[in-house]
Symmetry: C2
Subunit: 606 residues, 2 copies
Amino acid sequence: MSHKLPNLGNNPSSTAAGTTPGSFAKKSHIAPGPEGRWTFASPDTPGMPEPSSKTAWDFLPDGWTTEIVDQEGSSKPGETVFRQSDETLRKVTFPADFKPITQLESARLGIVTPEMKRVAERESHLTAEQVRDEVASGRMVIPANRVHLEHQLDPMCIGRASKTKVNANMGASPVSSGTHEEVEKLKWAEKWGADTVMDLSTGGDLDECRQAIIENSRVPIGTVPIYSMIIGRKLYDLNLDIILDSLRHQAAQGVDYFTIHAGVLQEHLQYVKDRLIGIVSRGGSLLAKWMIDHGEQNPMYTGWEQICEVMREYDVTFSIGDGLRPGGLADATDQAQLAELSTLGELTERAWRKGVQVMIEGPGHVPFDQIEYNMKLERQLCHGAPFYVLGPLVTDIFPGYDHITSCIGATSAAYHGASMLCYVTPKEHLGLPKKDDVKQGCIAYKIAAHSADVALGIPGTRDRDDELTKARAALNWEKHFELSFDPDTARAYHDEDLDVDTDFCAMCGHDWCSVRISKEIVEFASGKDDDYKWDRAKVSAALSEEQKEILAKRGVLSPEEIHKLASKTKNAVGAAEKKASCHSDYTDAETAQQIQNSEIVELKVD
Amino acid sequence: MSHKLPNLGNNPSSTAAGTTPGSFAKKSHIAPGPEGRWTFASPDTPGMPEPSSKTAWDFLPDGWTTEIVDQEGSSKPGETVFRQSDETLRKVTFPADFKPITQLESARLGIVTPEMKRVAERESHLTAEQVRDEVASGRMVIPANRVHLEHQLDPMCIGRASKTKVNANMGASPVSSGTHEEVEKLKWAEKWGADTVMDLSTGGDLDECRQAIIENSRVPIGTVPIYSMIIGRKLYDLNLDIILDSLRHQAAQGVDYFTIHAGVLQEHLQYVKDRLIGIVSRGGSLLAKWMIDHGEQNPMYTGWEQICEVMREYDVTFSIGDGLRPGGLADATDQAQLAELSTLGELTERAWRKGVQVMIEGPGHVPFDQIEYNMKLERQLCHGAPFYVLGPLVTDIFPGYDHITSCIGATSAAYHGASMLCYVTPKEHLGLPKKDDVKQGCIAYKIAAHSADVALGIPGTRDRDDELTKARAALNWEKHFELSFDPDTARAYHDEDLDVDTDFCAMCGHDWCSVRISKEIVEFASGKDDDYKWDRAKVSAALSEEQKEILAKRGVLSPEEIHKLASKTKNAVGAAEKKASCHSDYTDAETAQQIQNSEIVELKVD
């Protein structure tokens, strides 16, 4: 994020602040989890699948037991009792020689890791113990490969108790891009708020690109390892040994999470033939072809426990891929997708038994009305493992604008149950995203994630919105832009029409500014706040290089006009120039009003 | 819309086509209205306000009666019996000398007007009789001033039984724009799918601008007449005579609907003082000031029946303004807003008694979780009069991107009950929209309206999505772009990376194309369809001027690169050039694959 959210304390956000709630009855709520813990959740529309009554505690490794007990016990080898964040005491027994490696394993032993502490710092509404307990329940993951932690990784979490996260995809393809460009996109995605980044390279030097991205990233890195598994060999020759070698290699490089399409089974393929667009997942289609060619089950499914052992060694988190996700509205929520989702639930249980952290990948094209159902079915079948959703797009007919069609679906998905949103850029379906597409995709998804967090009432998330509203009420443009997610764009658009900060804007002009008039009518809470008081009109600073570029790309001003905005000084835009004067370039609001009245239109509101 | 939706028949849209619905349980439904008619509606989340049990039939003028009867009656003066679209017979009695003027009055007499017939043509899932009955119930309006009908107006409807509509605002302000520019924006908004346009001019020659917009528009035109009422006079001097004169003047010009802020009452102002940003409606703030200065009630409220008489004379439709709409998330769904909404319900009843068509304006900033409640409260308090909603924005901190923040809210609003969506452009809060902003605003809102219609299952609305999915499955790029809402942008983005139409795209490249691989695995329904069969790779036509401009504004290619794309021929991009070859500029897919394999990366999937 370009600006850190001001930390203004925990302010529950889903009722109107400073007012009596009146007859407003609907609120999202904090739903107690099956074990007395809590997550943020939307109320269920009638007909939604019930949440699973199980958590990762129900899928412990062989030889483990757990129960809630009344008193703290002895700490003999192979046994621990610890106080959970809901004040209950949990006793866990385990093989005496067991050493925890993954965050899940530590959490099961009641250990608060340094990564959990760091996560709690970043999620100011959570304690480290709550983070631990959410991880132990399987409802939260901390994707942090032990190797990546030795580089620059700043640990973060994904789960329903925490703020919604955004992933940005990048990676070279055989026809476009290279390592240097991808690292540049990585830094750019981090700047624009990506919480994790997936390197989906299928072209160029995959190994080099992956290494460079891991070394340069502060955010967790995910990959889809099947891509590198089949380069240089025939798909037919893929087998479990190659799969395990390849996973081990990438895990040793420091990849934090792997998308593994182990849920696409032979028996699911019959459901694909009636679809309009078959299989659109690359991993899914490759494995489907492999199964047909061999007449055998998906080797990632049959070899799941061996894969889990590689994952555990480095604490790589599963992102169990949805190889049968729908590729268009027509295929959404169909039998292929739902059959696979059920298998993903089974794989989740098996991974938890091996101590590996799990998230589940979710669909990419879903009509708006089906999103809640999809989210709540996952909560049931996969026991609340964090749901990591691509979009979803809510219409298919707007290629070039799919960052928008999908961020609508993403907002609803995050509100109804998704924990991480995989961005979609304007280039989706058309080509590989360029740098500006990465920015547009990130921003659309920060909008989705933030809006959902506000709607869910995650403490503190609406504070920045309220601060900006106060700045707006006070007509304090500088603060307004400072609080904006993309201050340069906001400033550039404002200055395009009116490069002076007055107590009105070019949208309505001085006399028509409702906020200005409203200020005369009543005293606002914020109006009394000296921090937000608008002082006097002043010419904005000349456009920065970045703002200049934004207006240039926008293409509605000529280069000369932009140059003028960029190089302006008080003299250059002053009273001497007729054109400038109608843009209220005077520093004095009264003079601006006077000019407007005399030159443009007569209007007296007082 | 730039392309007419292909009329492919009525295909109910909210289940997966061509598949067994499987365990998918949640569907939006067609809810029978209180009188046995129907509208499209989302299922109610628990706690939502019940729909009103009344319709416009409960608010007939004095001297009228109505009842459902068993047999067709005589047609004596002052009495009519007609068969409704649900097959029931309705008897209506009325003063014998009554002559209907408005669409509502005609509908009450069972008359199907030419405008209703035209609306039924445009809403292929509705009959003219259904349109009439929806208008009679007050759940639908046809904003068609009798004067505007003599120009180029093409009648349309707004209501829950029909497709969701989009309004684009324009109009000069004292600091920006003029008549010519506004007419140009009007044509541009029509091109990009605006269903109605509001002229919100507060600067320039208002009368001339309004006249020009009415004469040039095929879509209904709305205005906020208070703007012109107070130009050239002091707000304090405003009175009912001036109001009526001004309305009569604009009605005679041909304006189709008026926003009138009659719901802001003296007793509501106490609720404003605790808000973060007070009153953000221009009309609302002006009337509030008037009431405080005079110590009197809102003259538009007290003079409502006289205003209705002016409206009726030309069949101008009310858009009853929400002068107390929230200006930030913090103020959403507060007492000020809800108290006014209750008054809007009262004004609706009073307008219906005068035979005038009504829609209700709705809020601009609402957290995502509160949208359904807002929509369903209107359905209760205003008896289902069409809800015309601005956005709403679901977060405040993304100025410069408010077409996106608001189209998220607009999709949810349309799904839960809004009938028309007032667009928001990227310039919202910052300045007056320019031509490109109008386009971006329109497209974001066509996305919202269309996505909601698909989610509601309005027959036929998903057909174009499915056609595009089929074209995508067949890797038929030409059809893909033809079916896109903005073909030039889609084509330009595609050609930016790969200006040849092959059986893959630059996003994944040949070997990684899941759709291509998937085609090898199973036979798709669409794969067998000769209409969609992909034939052979071919170089796309050179970029059009419009596509060239799109890439230029995009700013990620140099002018030289764009020029190359724009002026290319087979020779210019052929094998001779090393750079071009990596972009697969060959017309032959096998050669492209070969180059890719040898030059970029080795991969064999077969």
